[in-house]
Symmetry: C2
Subunit: 225 residues, 2 copies
Amino acid sequence: MERLTKNKAPVATKERILDAAEELFAERGFRETSLRDITSRAGVNLAAVNYHFQSKDALIQAVFARRIGPINDARLAMLDEFEARAGGGAVPLEDVLRAFLEPVVEDEKAVPPSFRRLFGRAYVEPGDLFTKIVQQHFGQARVRFAAALQRALPDEPLVDLLWKVNFTIGAMAHTLAGSPERVRAISGGVVESVDMESAVERLIAFVAAGFRAPSRVRPAGKADA
Amino acid sequence: MERLTKNKAPVATKERILDAAEELFAERGFRETSLRDITSRAGVNLAAVNYHFQSKDALIQAVFARRIGPINDARLAMLDEFEARAGGGAVPLEDVLRAFLEPVVEDEKAVPPSFRRLFGRAYVEPGDLFTKIVQQHFGQARVRFAAALQRALPDEPLVDLLWKVNFTIGAMAHTLAGSPERVRAISGGVVESVDMESAVERLIAFVAAGFRAPSRVRPAGKADA
DNA sequence: GTCTATATGGGGATAGAC
DNA sequence: GTCTATCCCCATATAGAC
């Protein structure tokens, strides 16, 4: 009975720390954000971080864990649906890519913009913590998608396929890490309004063509044209 | 006369700081690397950093400045050569991409592996310092390459082109930031040996196909197939 | 130009009262 | 669960002797 009224906002504190951390990490980076920054934005006490989480590293992991589960669920659900629709046949390449990309890139309530930027940055961030995060959370869907890709492109050697997956992840990560501004920036001011909604369709079209292309420009001996 | 014998290693110190900083930044990140780490690896005194450079931020900028000049020179020289060869006509898409990518991705004495990783990370790193670095150094070649791309793909609307450039930079950056390990990682241990030499040819082939593809999968109204 | 020594600040984490 | 106060470490940067 006393347990029901014990705290003013039982869940709120932990969530608010996660929200504030997510935003600040996205804006400034992980190391550049202090726990004091986080707690002051969240409106909670400094010591609350080490009470609810054990360390700053654990907080960072929690920030990722909260979002990536649902994202991977959405990915696999979409892939399931496409595979059911294909009825035993291979899922078309574009659909495999869509299942992989749309749940992250598309604007949804489940994935706030701040986290999208973090997601893109996780791949490139140095340090054991992030390689661990990527392996833990991002590796889950890997097996399913690798298999789906191989079925969509049965003639593609595995190594070639993996390089292309690598390029795809790079394009995706860079897009997530902050594309509207960057497209504007590289235009040198020529393009003013950039719609992020088209990003997924553009990305799918771009990488799908890359997947279908021969893997190298020059055969192997590097003879000049 | 005394000026000739004044110091044991006149140029060495500054260069050794740059070398050590470049390596450590690539391994651990910028904020994660202390000046003490750098000076101890370089075998110089801590105070030497603030003597030769003024601050850590200035050192970071110097690390980039030292390499990017030559890289952009190589890019533009290669583009010049292709344009001369084209003799007034448009440079083929693959060659434009090669001039942009090969000087960075290809293994050369001018671009050590450690800096390649930094190069890839500069785009995604948060903070004003890095947006400034990218604008200063990376924006130089931008105008020339944008023009060459537009001539290679005259029917492509500018916005579409810029999105594709963005995807290309993402794939490039991700490749530079550490691909051999990552291709191995996403293979789940299936692929053991990955040759980095093929990276440029693979990358060019991949993105060239993307550039030639229609910009979107679905027209615009987002009607389902 | 190079060193020692130190100033100065901020960081993560914790002890212990409430 | 939440707060205050504080410990302790490590960071960048500089002053001043050599």
